[in-house]
């Protein structure tokens, strides 16, 4: 498939925003149940500003998505088919998630945090905790919708797998926790080890899951063949004309248009930039507490994720390509 930059930015940015929110909410939950000490930083900064950054990243992703549309002014129509279309579901889930992150941040910022109830030995359940739980559910629904857009197309065999959903969750989570590590370095330095540690764990898990999908796709056998495409049973079928002289939509939309060595280079660079390099930078950054290393980790991993998403599209081989062998 042709990797469109609007979709690469959309999927990586909203993944980053979702991960960032999940990171700060994880910190709140852990501090409520006292697995980590209460943050010394101002709640308004840690959770309020954290939510604002997450919202900004999600907003950028939303803006990027409009560049993919031929008629962005009609985008509102895309909320109507949620019964059948994962794309429509994503269009609904993204603003709902952004809304719940907004409320979560707002409640923290304004200090609207009444105690709703206490569980067990005095674990307080307050309003922000409930709001955050709601937003967390929305974050996972959004991950599911985004990934299912790709995983639900059964004849794009490279995408049609539960691993696609797992990868979107883990890669979004990993990049968001990495960004959160940098954020808490300024907002609540005592959390750097905690969130940074989770960022490393998520990045390693994402590596395993992404490797699994790479291996799976390598072993795939295409279901469609030139024989099934034109219905002629002969082992040698060569296309000599594809019905267009200067190419068509079919030769542009479904091909990445790059030589195999570029595809290979992108694959190896994302395997390097998304996983080992950020892990190294994060670990060093946490140990020596140097800002530059954490900034580098965020930047390197995000660039790597763009390459990862480019490869995700380039790797998918659409069965219609059989009809355009001459492309």
């Amino acid at each position: 498939m042709h990797p469109a930059f609007s979709v690469i930015f959309l999927t990586t940015l909203i993944g980053l925003g979702q991960g960032l929110f999940l990171a700060i909410y994880t910190a709140q939950v852990y501090s409520v149940v006292e697995l980590i000490p209460m943050t010394q930083g101002d709640d308004r900064i840690v959770y309020g500003v954290g939510s604002i950054i997450a919202l900004a990243v999600l907003g950028l992703g939303l803006v990027a998505s409009f560049f993919h549309l031929g008629h962005p002014e009609r985008a509102w129509r895309s909320v109507t088919q949620w019964r059948t279309s994962w794309l429509s579901r994503e269009v609904i889930a993204l603003p709902l998630f952004m809304g719940s992150v907004f409320l979560y941040g707002l409640f923290h910022f304004m200090g609207w945090n009444p105690l709703l109830m206490t569980i067990g030995e005095g674990f307080p359940i307050d309003l922000t905790l409930v709001m955050g739980a709601l937003a967390t559910v929305m974050a996972f629904i959004l991950f599911l919708c985004t990934a299912m857009i790709y995983a639900s197309i059964r004849f794009l065999q490279e995408w049609s797998s539960p691993l696609t959903v797992l990868n979107f969750i883990l890669l979004g989570g990993a990049s968001g926790f990495t960004l959160a590590t940098l954020f808490v370095f300024y907002a609540a330095p005592e959390l750097v080890g905690f969130i940074g540690g989770w960022a490393i764990v998520l990045t390693i898990t994402a590596l395993l899951s992404r490797m699994a999908s790479l291996v799976r796709n390598r072993l795939l056998r295409p279901k469609s063949t030139p024989q099934s495409a034109i219905g002629v049973r002969h082992s040698t079928i060569r296309q000599i004309a594809q019905g267009a002289m200067g190419g068509s939509f079919n030769t542009r939309e479904y091909f990445h248009g790059q030589p195999q060595r570029v595809v290979k280079m992108v694959k190896w660079s994302f395997l390097l930039f998304v996983f080992p390099l950020p892990i190294l930078l994060l670990a060093l950054g946490i140990i020596v507490q140097v800002e530059t290393l954490l900034i580098a980790a965020v930047v390197v991993q995000y660039l790597g994720l763009m390459a990862e998403r480019w490869y995700f599209f380039a790797e998918a081989n659409h069965p219609q390509n059989i009809y355009y062998q001459a492309a």
Partner: protein
């Protein structure tokens, strides 16, 4: 239930692209139009088409065969392109099974084209909406046309009658009979979209001659070997033609 569709006879298609031209002519000026081109008269011409004729070479020289292969929307019974549309612009008509795009609702996200295994949908770079074969829906129901012309433009124009149009759900229609009796098959059946368009395969007529048909088995006079006949001897034919 009605399912209008095309049956394409690969045995008689000569690859003249007449269907491509007449499709574009009718539809670019009809309800489904325009079908704009980019650089039509310069290098790298490209544009929107509902129907294209491709050519395949089957086998290795000298045992090759050329196959001309027209391809347009299959108007699937289970169209995978329809449920994925986020706006409902892409739909399948209940009354005749034609899959259409409402250009006023389409947002141009191209998701439906990803969800079509046949690559039958083409994005119009000028109008920024997805376009596809309509089976000339603005023509087949036009009562101002004589009945013989209430057919898709591609079907009327085909000089070898390689294209047939009709209801594939009606077992007695011309197309259903053709599919049944001439070995009609759908493309890429493995994806379960149940395409309605069918293709009739290349068919070759062979005369089967057995060895004993070359020599008359009951030959009482055994006088069939003319080469051995001497000048004055009678052949069986001479005897019979008395």
């Amino acid at each position: 239930m009605t399912q209008l569709a095309l049956v394409i006879d690969l045995n008689v298609c000569v690859g003249c692209s007449g269907c491509v031209t007449s499709c574009k002519e009718w539809n670019t000026s009809g309800e489904a139009g325009p079908m704009p081109d980019q650089n039509p008269y310069r290098a790298e011409p490209t544009g929107t088409f509902f129907n294209r004729v491709q050519t395949y070479e089957i086998g290795t020289f000298p045992n090759t065969e050329t196959l001309h292969f027209p391809k347009s929307c299959m108007h699937c019974a289970e169209p995978p392109c329809v449920p994925v549309c986020p706006t409902g612009a892409s739909y399948k008509r209940e009354e005749d099974g034609i899959v259409l795009v409402d250009y006023d609702k389409c947002i141009g996200c191209k998701y439906c084209s990803w969800a079509c295994p046949y690559g039958a949908r083409e994005f119009d770079e000028q109008s920024k909406v997805m376009k596809k074969c309509t089976l000339c829906v603005d023509r087949i129901y036009d009562m101002s046309l004589p009945e013989s012309e209430r057919q898709p433009a591609c079907v009327i124009s085909c000089p070898t009658s390689a294209r047939l149009f009709g209801d594939v759900e009606d077992p007695d229609s011309e197309v259903s009979v053709k599919i049944r009796e001439e070995g009609g098959y759908p493309l890429m059946a493995e994806w379960g979209a149940q395409p309605s368009n069918h293709y009739l395969p290349r068919r070759k007529v062979h005369i089967r001659v057995r060895a004993d048909e070359l020599v008359r088995a009951d030959n009482p006079l055994k006088k069939e070997n003319f080469s051995k006949l001497s000048k004055d001897e009678q052949s069986l034919d001479d005897v019979m033609s008395w």
